[in-house]
């Protein structure tokens, strides 16, 4: 019943620790201008604007769509602001797609961002509320025990996370937009980097970046631009509580259900075989093998073997390259990170991924998650409608 929708324009900023040369609006506009140019359209051609970002406390601008309306050419148009924690970049893309898939709009501009350098993520994510009933040990304090449980359960060897950390940074070195440019990174360097939350080392965690990512999503009768469209073959979101009795934190049901849903829409039966590549939200190295299993690319307990076999590496000629752009481990403007995954998946099937292009990519997965690995959003994009 849904109308066909496609990505016809993509724009990203260069990701950096600190973009001290632009305002918040200027940062967004850099991505937006590139997306519009890529789509060959102007603001007059846009029917609605959908903006997403993670908590307002990162920049201290409350409900920033108010202030950003002018910079996004939204005057006189519908505007929506999405916030679903770390998965927000993905869910924003899905909400934007629904504007078109619903038959309500022809062309929608969507953008996500984080100007992390304006504050401190550690502060914003652990603001002091009185009577807290939980000890605060930071994001790593939350995720490291889950990783430890994965390692125990899968009986995984110690070096898997290190392998991912190196692979994604080498991928990132192919992507001129990536924040970390570490073409010569070695496993020894990762191993020697400071242990933060055992078993997570400094170089196994994502950086903190400024940046924005924008897309133009259009209906089938409104395709524009000089590049092929990336057809949206399926979209899905799932949420579950942060904690509940019996919850599988290592392989959350919300992630499994979300994948099942989006694969069914896109006619995918064997993700490792059917996809040509995937952009998956991996902010800590060990989440690659964990998500390989959660997303059905590997059987439970087997994900780390794909990683060690080089199956996910573009450099090693793997059959299912993951995060050819460098992934979250190479660039992490939190509110935009999910949309970057969705946009990079679209770049691959448009054949427009430059030095990190997977040859003849026809079908790709974009994935994001957030909160306590409880909010999931995914889409499947293809070079063809079916």
């Amino acid at each position: 019943m849904a109308e066909w929708a496609a990505v016809v324009g993509i724009g990203q900023t260069r990701y950096k620790t600190r973009r001290s040369d632009v305002s918040i609006a200027g940062l967004l506009r850099e991505a937006v201008d590139r997306a519009l140019a890529d789509a060959g359209v102007g603001f007059d051609d846009i029917d609605a604007v959908v903006i997403g970002k993670a908590p307002d406390m990162f920049e201290g601008v409350i409900m920033p769509e108010s202030y950003l309306a002018d910079a996004l050419g939204a005057s006189g148009k519908p505007m929506l602001r999405v916030h679903t924690a770390g998965s927000v970049g993905g869910s924003t893309a899905i909400v934007a797609a629904s504007h078109v898939q619903s038959g309500t709009f022809k062309r929608v501009l969507t953008v996500t961002y984080e100007k992390q350098s304006e504050s401190n993520a550690m502060w914003a994510l652990s603001t002091p509320q009185p009577f807290s009933v939980h000890l605060n040990a930071g994001a790593g304090g939350y995720f490291a025990p889950i990783i430890r449980e994965y390692i125990r359960r899968a009986n995984a060897p110690e070096g898997v996370g290190i392998r991912v950390a190196v692979k994604d940074r080498r991928h990132g070195a192919r992507n001129p937009l990536a924040h970390l440019q570490l073409p010569d990174i070695t496993e020894q360097e990762v191993r020697d980097s400071m242990m933060l939350w055992d078993p997570l080392r400094f170089l196994e965690a994502c950086p903190s970046s400024d940046g924005a990512c924008a897309m133009v999503i259009a209906a089938a009768d409104s395709i524009s631009g000089n590049k092929p469209p990336a057809w949206i073959r399926g979209v899905a979101m799932r949420s579950e509580p942060t904690m509940y009795a019996g919850r599988d934190e290592v392989s959350p049901q919300a992630g499994r259900d979300c994948a099942t849903d989006v694969y069914a829409q896109a006619g995918i039966t064997d993700p490792r075989r059917d996809f040509d590549c995937a952009e998956v939200y991996v902010p800590f190295s060990w989440y690659e093998p964990m998500w390989l299993e959660n997303l059905g690319f590997a059987s439970p307990g087997e994900g780390w073997k794909l990683t060690l076999d080089g199956a996910t590496s573009l450099d090693d000629g793997g059959d299912i390259p993951w995060n050819c752009s460098g992934g979250v481990l190479s660039s992490n403007p939190i509110g935009a990170s999910g949309m970057i995954r969705f946009a990079e998946a679209a770049r691959q099937v448009r054949g427009d991924a430059g030095a990190h292009q997977v040859e003849n990519a026809r079908l790709a997965l974009g994935h994001a998650y957030g909160g306590g690995a409880q909010f999931f959003s995914m889409w499947v994009v293809g070079a063809d409608k079916n």
Partner: protein, 352 residues
């Protein structure tokens, strides 16, 4: 496009300070109420859930995440969130149903505004370089807007007081209202200014609370066998952020949204308008083209109680209830967001 129906609505009483109640405790009674209206057992019985809230009201990042604990999201739910009034969650859900990915949706909005100082908090919603550093607050901006209307001769302070008087009168029939009573224009004009030219009565009170709604395709509503109102139009538009760039005596985006939502395609008999300040009700009544025969804010509107992040959704709910109760056949609901009516949503509801 698929026809969509509102099938259930519930909101909490508007109270100034709800005290020892957290997000989950605030939301859950409203969810249970809307499930009961439709005969559902939980959020598992709808296809999509979307909520609206704002972290800064109570000063904690990710306020909405705790809200998920009220849902019973096991197995996991198709769920989304807007950092906006839940009227925009309704908008997102309508699009979702139109795509065919859902036949029904649960919406909720919640806000516990009492912990913070709302005007100061909302001052940080303004342009972060020119306006927010002045700590110019929303009440002051509304006062500048009111002055322009008064200076233009298009309203008088008595007109503003008349809006407040009618709100208080209407609220006497609304057990959930925070401010109600029989108070006349002359008495209201005796009050001192809070922020001249605004008196306290001209400004909505700050309320804690939550609201929830269930919508569905008309086919699903019939299958459920519950009374419903059809949502025949919904649209929302934003304007320039800088109040100085706009004609503050009008609401252009409300006019645009009203036209797109088809407000004037048939006669109306009720309107629920989200006007946090008395003069804004006059601006909006004019922008919506409402004549005197139409009952405006029979609930008392937000001047009688303002559930931040849920008041917009509650306006839709009020119109729904009047249609289902047989008090009205066709009505318009309005929600606003941003300084001086920057962003407006208009929905049209009709009897089945």
């Amino acid at each position: 496009m698929r026809d969509i129906a509102v099938v259930a609505f519930s909101q909490s009483a508007c109270v100034a300070d709800i005290g020892a109640v957290n997000e989950v405790e605030l939301i859950m009674p409203q969810l249970q109420a809307v499930y009961a209206q439709v005969g559902l057992s939980s959020a598992q019985d709808v296809d999509f859930v979307c909520s609206g809230s704002c972290d800064y009201l109570q000063g904690a990042a990710f306020a909405f995440v705790a809200g998920v604990d009220a849902l019973g999201a096991v197995p996991p739910l198709k769920e989304s969130h807007v950092e906006m009034d839940a009227a925009w969650a309704l908008y997102e859900a309508v699009l979702k149903i139109r795509t065919g990915h859902a036949d029904s949706a649960l919406l909720y909005g919640f806000g516990k505004s009492s912990p913070g100082e709302l005007p100061a908090v909302l001052s940080q919603r303004l342009d972060p370089y020119y306006l927010a550093p002045l700590w110019l607050d929303t009440v002051s901006l509304a006062a500048l807007q009111a002055r322009m209307l008064l200076d233009s001769g298009s309203i008088t302070e008595s007109d503003m007081a008349a809006v407040v008087s009618r709100s208080r009168q209407n609220a006497q029939a609304n057990p959930l209202a925070q401010l109600a009573g029989d108070i006349g224009v002359a008495a209201l004009l005796q009050d001192d200014y809070l922020l001249a030219p605004l008196r306290r009565g001209d400004c909505a009170p700050v309320s804690d609370g939550a609201a929830a709604m269930i919508i569905a395709t008309v086919e699903q509503a019939r299958r459920w066998g519950v009374p419903y109102a059809r949502l025949t139009g919904i649209d929302q538009r934003i304007e320039s952020h800088n109040p100085c760039m706009r004609d503050l005596t009008d609401s252009v985006s409300t006019r645009q949204a009203a036209a797109a939502a088809g407000v004037h395609e048939a006669a109306l008999d009720v309107a629920e308008i989200y006007a946090p300040f008395s003069h804004q009700e006059i601006i909006l009544t004019r922008a919506l083209g409402l004549d005197e025969a139409i009952a405006v804010n029979p609930s008392g509107g937000v001047l009688a109680g303002n559930l931040m992040m849920a008041s917009g959704l509650a306006r839709v709910g009020e119109v729904f209830q009047r249609i289902v109760n047989g008090d009205a056949r066709r009505g318009v609901a309005h929600a606003t967001s941003g300084p001086c009516l920057q962003h407006n949503l208009v929905a049209v509801l009709e009897g089945a």
